[in-house]
Every structure is written in structure tokens, then in C-alpha cells.
């Protein structure tokens, strides 16, 4: 694969190290204090493919939103490449160095695929519309997204839409790619295609990825490290290093290493799932 135009400096200066230090987040709607994240610490290395697994509603997204800059935190600090992103006093701001790919997709339906992909650089004024389009078309060619530049998102398949959204993020050469259960609503077959796509993008750019899911297979197949979270309030229960070499493809799924990691993962997650289930029963 030839050098991508959106590639950073080949990973000479590693970027995208996230340091999450004793972060807590309390939601306080109408005085009902809900502790969503409790004293959570993580050190994510630059260029790491980090996957967060945990039961539904455990506070994974809260953490992602804080990194993305959509809301603040109640205690602790989050640093990106050594710079303070937010703490209890400082509200973070969204920025194109940390781009989110949303659960239900957020391609603008009123713009064509090409207009969506060039949105970032054009809005920021870092490239003229023409330059951005040229760059986008080259990138789309490399990513297997040829021939849909002038279609609207509603005219392409859901798997294609998700790939376009990842391409839209990569156009900005972000330090961190934040993905919030991006493939949740997809069928198993489409998933295998978008997984391979995301792995290709990662292998080419080595951008730090912060990926939230509750699909264990997806977590191990994609991730370098899998962080298993407890049920709410969320903390890190277990960290698994996935020592399966890259580039990976679907054959990985049948390897003994994969099976071993999977069973380790299942037992950890199962405990939390049971706890979450019981907690749910109590609340009712």
C-alpha cells in the first residue's frame, strides 16, 4: 500500500498518548447523584489500539465523551500527549485532534459523501475546498471507497457509511480516533468487512484508537489492549494485552491464542454482567 496523503510523519514522533488519572464523573440531574465513573485510571500509549469492554450503561461512553470534549469530569485529570485536556475545573473543548465515530453514525445526510469527508479541513480552513477534495478522492481510492463521492449517505449501505465516517475522521489526521460502539447495529457479515477496514486504516496510520464495545470477539480481534470495566460506577477491572501479531485477518479468530484470550475475557466480563443484572433488578 502506497503512502497515504493523510499519513502523519510515519510515526517518528509518537502522538496520541492518553493519560486518564483517577477520573470520576457524577451526574446530578435534579439532585439524584449518580456516580457514573469512579476513580478510573488508564495509561494509553501513543498508537495503541485500546478497546474498552463493559456492561451496557457502565460509564464507558462517559469517559469517551470527556476525552472528546463533550462534557467535563467531576474529579481527576485527563491528559493528551502531556497536555491537560480536562480536570474538575476545566471544561474540555471538542477538537479535530480527537474525532468521534458515533454509535448510530453522524454523517450529515444533507451533504454528499465527498462533502462529508472534506468537512473537517474545509471548516477549519486548513485546506481549500479543491485541495481537500483532491486529497479525499485519493484517500477514498486507497480505502476502497471509489465511485460514491457524489452519492448522499442515504444512498449507500450501512457498512459503507461507517467506512466513510472513519475516512472523514482520518482526513483530519487526528491524534486519537474515538469510536463509540460504531458497529453495534450491523449484521455479522458486514461487521467482518468493516473490521478489516478499520484494521487496515490502523495498520497504515498507527493512530491511537479508543474503541468502546461490548462485543468480546470484536474487542480481541481489533485491540492491542482490552480494558474490562466494572458495572457502574465504572473502574478498570482487568487489562488484557492481546499479543496476536498484526496485520491480522479473520484467520486469527481460529488461533489458540485468540481462544485463550477469549475465555479469559469471558470469565471477567461474566462476573460484571451478573452484577449489573442484579443491580438492575434491585433498581426495579
Amino acid at each position: 500500500m502506497s503512502a497515504a496523503p493523510f499519513e502523519s510523519d510515519g510515526g517518528k514522533t509518537p502522538r496520541g498518548a492518553i493519560s486518564i488519572r483517577a477520573v470520576s464523573k457524577v451526574y446530578d440531574p435534579e439532585g439524584a447523584r449518580v456516580l457514573a465513573v469512579d476513580d478510573c485510571s488508564m495509561e494509553i500509549e501513543a498508537g495503541e489500539f485500546c478497546v474498552i469492554v463493559g456492561p451496557s450503561g457502565c460509564g464507558k461512553t462517559t469517559l469517551l465523551n470527556a476525552i472528546a470534549g463533550f462534557h467535563g469530569i467531576s474529579a481527576g485529570e485527563i491528559h493528551l500527549d502531556g497536555e491537560l485536556l480536562c480536570d474538575s475545573a476545566r471544561m474540555p473543548k471538542p477538537g479535530s485532534d480527537r474525532i468521534v465515530v458515533f454509535q448510530n453514525g453522524a454523517l450529515f445526510p444533507w451533504f454528499t459523501v465527498l462533502e462529508n469527508i472534506t468537512f473537517g479541513p474545509v471548516m477549519q480552513g486548513v485546506a481549500s475546498k479543491k485541495d481537500a477534495e483532491e486529497k479525499a478522492l485519493i484517500m477514498m481510492g486507497q480505502m476502497g471507497l471509489k465511485g460514491i463521492a457524489h452519492n448522499y449517505p442515504s444512498e449507500i449501505s450501512s457498512g459503507m457509511r461507517r467506512r466513510v465516517e472513519i475516512a472523514r475522521a482520518m482526513m483530519n489526521d487526528p491524534r486519537v480516533l474515538l469510536l463509540d460502539e460504531p458497529f453495534r447495529a450491523m449484521d455479522a457479515l458486514t461487521k467482518t468487512v468493516v473490521h478489516q477496514f478499520l484494521l487496515d486504516v490502523y495498520d497504515r496510520n498507527k493512530t491511537t484508537v479508543f474503541f468502546i464495545t461490548h462485543d468480546l470477539d470484536e474487542a480481541i480481534f481489533l485491540g492491542s489492549k482490552v480494558y474490562i470495566m466494572t458495572t457502574r460506577p465504572a473502574t478498570i477491572k482487568k487489562v488484557l494485552s492481546v499479543d496476536i501479531p498484526r496485520p491480522r485477518d479473520f484467520r486469527v479468530l481460529a488461533s489458540p491464542a485468540y481462544q485463550r484470550l477469549r475465555s479469559e475475557c469471558i470469565s471477567a466480563v461474566h462476573e460484571e454482567a451478573v452484577k449489573a443484572f442484579k443491580a438492575g433488578e434491585r433498581e426495579m
Partner: protein, 287 residues
């Protein structure tokens, strides 16, 4: 790279070709013939009730035969038909009034609605006022309108404007509020400024609701216009209806009513076509 490259990414027709295809498909389906049958059925019932059986409820009303004879006559009994200049004068004056009032309501209502949706403080100031003024029936404004404006023309246009304005503001506001939070977050994440978010997310995102609102507001405009013309007009279709009633020229009432119906539908259609033109993404979604 493991990806299928679509060489033929589906429908890339020009909008003209698309319209033609849809037209052909429509003519091949039973719909247009059923539409026609429904209209004919209505005229048949009308004819039976008035001109055959002369039912008590309908015995003062002109039947289709009387109406259409008058309408198509080069020398009409009451002075209004396809062949008379007066008919087109009334249509022209009413349409021109609606056009002015509707344009004014759109030019003011859409920006105000967008702004209310964009800036919460502005909405906090204005929303209660809107909610109190909006339910006041147009007829209740007639005296104030006559007191405020010099001459009939201005007060009729003002009444028409009011009817249209509130529907436009409210639907535009709803349009902004219907936009998924994820689009705002995505735009902010991609580095768009507050102002860019307004032009690139709020405006296009609310457009479908805006155009629904404009169709509704066009309906209100005609409604208010006729009320205004009946009370204060010298010309126009509303005036024509009321005047024909007092002069016992009943077929003219029906002529003016059907004319209002047809022009009202046409003005709605024009809005829809403009909307389709501006929202190709919606049109193609439906295709």
C-alpha cells in the same frame, strides 16, 4: 485492502429524468384514474343533490350544471367567467396579496425560528410571547389591524401575514430542535465554529421541517386572506364570495370557491417543488 469497489453506485439520474420516470410510473398505476373517479363522484353527488332530487338542504345552492354553464359562458349572467377580465383581476389581486404576505412571513419567520433554535437565551425571551400570540384567531385581529394600518390593502396583507408568520416560526423552531445532537457533536469535533454549525448543520438540518411549515403557513395565508377580504376588501376572491352572496349571485360563490381550492393547491405544489430542489438528499432518499 479488502473492499468491494462499487463501479455502479446506484441511481445517478438527472432530476429531469427522475421526474419523467416517476411520471411514467404514476400514469401506469391505478392512482391517477382513482383520483379522477373520486372527483367525478363528488360532482355526481352534488349534481344529484341539487339538480335532480333538489334535496331540502341543498335547494338554494347552484348545481354543477348552473355553475359550469356560468363559468364557461363568454357572456356570463353575473359577470364572472373564464372570458371576463374581472375574474382574472380578482385572482390576480388575491394572489398578489398572499404572495406579499407569505414572502414577508417567510423572510421574517424562518430566520427568527432558526435563531430561536440556535440561541437558547433568545428562545427564552421569545417563546412565551409566541405561544400566547399564536392561538389568537386571525378574525380577532381584524379591528386592530384596521385601526393600525392606513387603508384596506395594508390591513388585509397584515392579517394574511399574521396567519402565515406564526406557523412558519413554530415549524422552523421545531425543525432545529429535531436535529440529532450527534450532528452538532460531529461538527464541533471536526472543528466547525459556532457560526459554521449554524450554516452547515442548523440550516440544512431544519429544512425539511421548514418546508412542511411553509406549506401549512401557505394554507393559513389563504384562510386569513379570505377572512380579511370578506370584511374589508374591495377586490379579491374573498370579497367576490361575500359580494355574490349579498347580491344573490350564487353560482359565482362556487366559482370563486373552486378557484381558491385550485390556486391553494398550486401554491402548495410550488413550495414542494422548491423544497425538492433545495433538498436533493431527501428526494434521493425517497427514490
Amino acid at each position: 485492502m479488502s473492499s468491494e469497489t462499487p463501479d455502479n453506485p446506484g441511481i445517478q439520474l438527472s432530476s429531469g429524468a427522475r421526474t419523467w420516470m416517476r411520471m411514467k410510473h404514476w400514469l401506469g398505476s391505478p392512482s391517477p384514474y382513482l383520483n379522477l373517479l373520486g372527483l367525478c363522484g363528488f360532482v355526481a353527488v352534488w349534481y344529484a343533490a341539487t339538480e335532480i332530487f333538489n334535496l331540502p338542504l341543498f335547494n338554494k345552492l347552484p348545481g354543477p350544471k348552473a355553475t359550469f354553464t356560468e363559468w364557461l359562458s363568454p357572456d356570463p349572467l353575473y359577470g364572472i367567467s373564464f372570458y371576463t377580465k374581472e375574474y382574472y383581476q380578482h385572482i390576480g389581486i388575491s394572489t398578489w396579496r398572499v404572495f406579499q404576505a407569505f414572502m414577508l412571513a417567510t423572510a421574517l419567520g424562518v430566520p427568527i425560528g432558526l435563531f430561536m433554535g440556535w440561541k437558547k437565551t433568545f428562545k427564552d425571551y421569545t417563546f412565551p410571547l409566541l405561544e400566547v400570540l399564536r392561538p389568537i384567531p386571525m378574525l380577532a385581529w381584524v379591528p386592530l389591524s384596521i385601526l393600525m394600518w392606513p387603508g384596506r390593502e395594508a390591513s388585509i396583507i397584515f392579517l394574511t401575514f399574521l396567519g402565515s408568520f406564526f406557523a412558519t416560526v413554530l415549524n422552523t423552531l421545531l425543525g432545529v430542535e429535531s436535529i440529532d445532537e450527534a450532528y452538532f457533536r460531529a461538527a464541533a469535533s471536526l472543528g466547525a465554529s459556532d457560526k459554521q454549525i449554524f450554516y452547515k448543520v442548523i440550516v440544512p438540518g431544519s429544512l425539511p421541517f421548514v418546508f412542511t411549515g411553509l406549506q401549512i403557513s401557505m394554507g393559513y395565508a389563504w384562510f386569513s386572506l379570505v377572512a380579511g377580504e370578506m370584511l374589508a376588501g374591495e377586490f379579491g376572491l374573498g370579497y367576490l364570495i361575500w359580494n355574490s352572496y349579498t347580491l344573490v349571485q350564487y353560482p359565482v360563490i362556487i366559482i370563486a370557491m373552486i378557484t381558491l381550492g385550485v390556486i391553494g393547491s398550486l401554491s402548495s405544489l410550488i413550495i414542494r417543488l422548491v423544497g425538492d430542489k433545495l433538498m436533493q438528499w431527501k428526494v434521493r432518499e425517497a427514490a
